[in-house]
């Protein structure tokens, strides 16, 4: 159908009216424009959607205001690739002229956006949920802030718990990219130092479905299996390990036994019970602050998950920190946001899952929750918190020099066969 002249005129008129309406509201009240970048396409589209919910929830609980100004959120999407993340950030910063940028979602994107942030030193960039170690450890950007802890910090303390359980020799399987390297380092740093042995590490390509040949390489004399896989990769591995008759206890990474894996559709596997893992949050945290967070999330998004996901939580605390910073400087963004930068660097606050402050590289020092999979009375599985490690630093509790000597996590670092 071709547009008629009257139709064109009509839509032009509507557009003009809308523009006038928006201009009116903007002049009536000062706004601060915040860009929020997650993934709404690609492999993390579903978690990315929950990330946006985290941003929206933080703004909502702040009554849509920060530092006396109205908060306007502009949403952006990437597909987990660094170039797409930078392109979306560039559009937000250079075309849409946002004041502050929040995002991105995944590790490699984080490093790319951090590097981009150096080309715009006049504004503040806050992380979304990305958790690569290198973002703040290697060549940090002075105006990039990360109020969440990262992949290696999330696994601190698991090594000690594994040793307490008597797992002296373990076999490890993990996906072959940055995030699992960090997770494995977080586990092995203390596990190796205290006498544990990781006899063999199997690094598999991301998205491996058939693990049978990896499983047939498991030595028979290990005490436990360390499984750092995510989503359907984890379910496939666990399914096939059961088929192969493997009945060793499990130690999982932060996304190995999360809600998506525990709540897969089908008969529940009892073999998952007792699996130890850790992360920056857990469903079973028993504090008023966490319970309020969950209740607020449920009230705001009745059709979303039963409890907020890791991504909703991470985006929430980063947005919350940004809004608290704006409050502290009463919305003053003058002089290249100097006051806000200062306020954020020194910000300390209690998030839903514990106290958070920043180190000198502007990376969070926060709590890690060690959990164990248990069965609820209604038969569902959930992660029960067994231990909380407070104030985990990015050097994993080691002195800076010792950590520098070990280096960032990789396939061969650390090593203790």
């Amino acid at each position: 159908m071709r547009p008629t002249r009257a139709g064109l005129l009509g839509s032009a008129l509507t557009a003009a009216l809308f523009a006038a309406a928006f201009a009116g509201s903007a002049s009536a009240q000062e706004t601060v424009k915040i860009g929020a970048l997650t993934n709404l396409e690609g492999p993390f589209a579903v978690p990315g959607q929950d990330g946006h919910r985290g941003v929206d929830l933080a703004v909502k609980l702040h009554n849509g205001m920060a530092g006396g100004k109205k908060v306007e959120i502009l949403k952006y999407s990437s597909d987990a690739t660094p170039d797409k993340a930078v392109a979306a950030t560039r559009k937000a910063v250079e075309q849409d002229k946002v004041d502050i940028m929040i995002g991105p979602l995944s590790g490699d994107e984080g490093i790319a956006v951090k590097n981009y942030s150096k080309t715009h030193p006049e504004m503040v960039f806050v992380n979304g949920s990305s958790g690569a170690q290198a973002t703040t450890l290697q060549d940090p950007s002075p105006n990039f802030y990360r109020f969440n802890t990262e992949g290696a910090q999330w696994m601190v303390g698991v090594g000690d718990v594994a040793l307490d359980k008597g797992y002296k020799k373990v076999w490890l399987v993990a996906e072959d990219y940055g995030f699992p390297y960090s997770q494995v380092q977080g586990f092995m740093a203390s596990y190796c130092a205290k006498g544990g042995h990781v006899v063999k590490k199997a690094w598999v390509p991301l998205g491996t479905k058939d693990y049978s040949s990896v499983i047939s390489g498991i030595p028979s004399d290990v005490d436990a299996l360390v499984v750092v896989l995510g989503g359907s990769d984890a379910v496939n591995f666990l399914n096939q390990a059961e088929q192969a008759g493997i009945d060793k206890p499990l130690v999982g990474g932060s996304i190995t036994v999360d809600q998506t894996v525990l709540n897969y559709k089908g008969k529940k596997r009892e073999s998952l019970l007792g699996t130890v893992s850790a992360g920056p949050m857990a469903d079973g945290i028993d504090t008023p602050a966490w319970k309020k967070f969950v209740a607020d999330y449920k009230a705001a998004f009745p059709n979303a998950y039963p409890t907020p996901s890791l991504f909703a939580y991470l985006y929430y605390i980063n947005t919350q920190a940004t809004l608290l910073g704006l409050d502290a400087v009463k919305g003053d963004l003058s002089n290249k946001q100097a006051k806000l930068k200062d306020a954020l660097a020194n910000l300390e606050f209690d998030g839903p899952a514990g106290h958070i402050k920043l180190d000198e590289n502007r990376n969070a020092i926060g709590d890690t929750y060690i959990t164990e999979v248990v069965k609820a009375p209604d038969g569902s599985f959930y992660n029960k918190v067994t231990k909380v490690v407070h104030d985990v630093s990015q050097t994993l509790g080691l002195p800076k020099a010792d950590f520098a000597k070990m280096g960032l996590g990789s396939r061969d670092v650390p090593n203790c066969p």
């Binding site: 058939d210 049978s212 088929q243 192969a244 998506t260 089908g266």
Partner: protein, 317 residues
């Protein structure tokens, strides 16, 4: 001619000698790992054969590259899961996986593909479009969750096996199912009237139509069987691994590679191709995990270089 033979022998030796050295080395140093990897490769090949046989059947007859084949795999798997969950009967789930995908395949053929016979580019574009629409519809309906089947306990544990100690029963079951399906397909194509019509159609469609056969009906039956095999593989494969969004493109890719290596349109070719790719994937994963994926494509490159129509493919007119 003679020189051609010589160079063929030369290339065969270039491939075969390092392979033989590897087999001897691997089976002497760690026979347990070697044999179990071999078994894993063969059983994975069985799964690939189930998916690719339907794909190649449809292509052989209709010259129709059905790029929505992966979507039919995923659709059959989801339908099978719904029924299996409601009735607690895994065998019924397998049957429903076949029937539901076959029905969708039949509907696709009679309502869409029959109107674009012989227009290859158009068919390709339409099937790509369909696969995207179907994937999004399934994501909308079934969500991003991971689905896992619950087969009878008897086939879901491990059995004793020479050299390797114990081996998952289910993978042996998959292999057995693939062999049975392969034999049934062979019998169907070679010993029944419909099979004869299909084979005649593969050779010369016009002559078949001219001799009074309702070609559209033969096409619809073939498409339904091809799609049904994808749905059946969805339940069988979903039980061995799991079902989640993205499996559609993964199995479409696997089928494409298998039939390109084995030869487009040939059922024995699908078996040979599946065996090569399954073994390459598993040996790659076990012995060189980081570079494993290279082997699959190396095989594809070699086959395309020396036999562009595939190992058992015919030089089509």
């Amino acid at each position: 001619m003679n020189r051609m033979r010589l160079s063929n022998w030369f290339w065969l030796a270039v491939i075969a000698i390092p392979l033989a050295v590897f087999v001897v080395w691997a089976s002497v140093t760690n026979p347990r790992q070697f044999v179990s990897t071999l078994l894993n490769g063969v059983t994975l090949a069985a799964l690939y054969f189930l998916v690719a046989s339907g794909f190649t059947l449809v292509f052989g007859l209709m010259r129709n590259v059905n790029l929505a084949h992966g979507s039919l795999y995923l659709f059959g798997a989801y339908m099978g899961w719904v029924v299996g969950d409601a009735t607690d009967d895994w065998f019924l789930a397998v049957a429903v996986g076949f029937a539901s995908a076959a029905l969708v395949g039949f509907l696709l053929q009679v309502s869409i593909f029959r109107f674009m016979q012989g227009q290859e580019l158009r068919q390709t574009m339409v099937t790509i479009g369909l696969s995207i629409v179907l994937a999004d519809l399934m994501l909308w309906w079934f969500g991003g969750e991971i689905y896992s089947f619950d087969p009878p306990r008897a086939i879901f544990k491990s059995i004793p096996m020479i050299v390797v100690g114990k081996y998952p029963t289910y993978r042996i079951v998959v292999l057995a199912i693939a062999i049975v399906i392969g034999l049934v397909l062979w019998w169907f194509l070679n010993r029944t009237k419909v099979g004869m019509m299909i084979r005649a159609g593969v050779d010369d469609r016009q002559m078949l139509a001219a001799s009074g056969v309702n070609v559209q009906r033969v096409f619809a039956i073939t498409f339904a069987i091809g799609a049904g095999l994808a749905g059946l593989a969805g339940v069988i494969g979903g039980t061995a691994l799991s079902v989640s969004p993205g499996e559609d493109t993964r199995y479409l890719m696997a089928s494409l590679v298998v039939v390109i290596v084995g030869g487009m349109g040939s059922i024995p070719g699908a078996a040979v191709g599946a065996l090569l790719i399954g073994l390459a994937e598993q040996f790659g994963l076990a012995y060189a995990p980081t570079y494993g994926v290279v082997f699959t494509f190396l095989i594809m490159v070699l086959v395309l270089a020396f036999r562009p129509t595939g190992i058992l493919g015919r030089r089509s007119a």
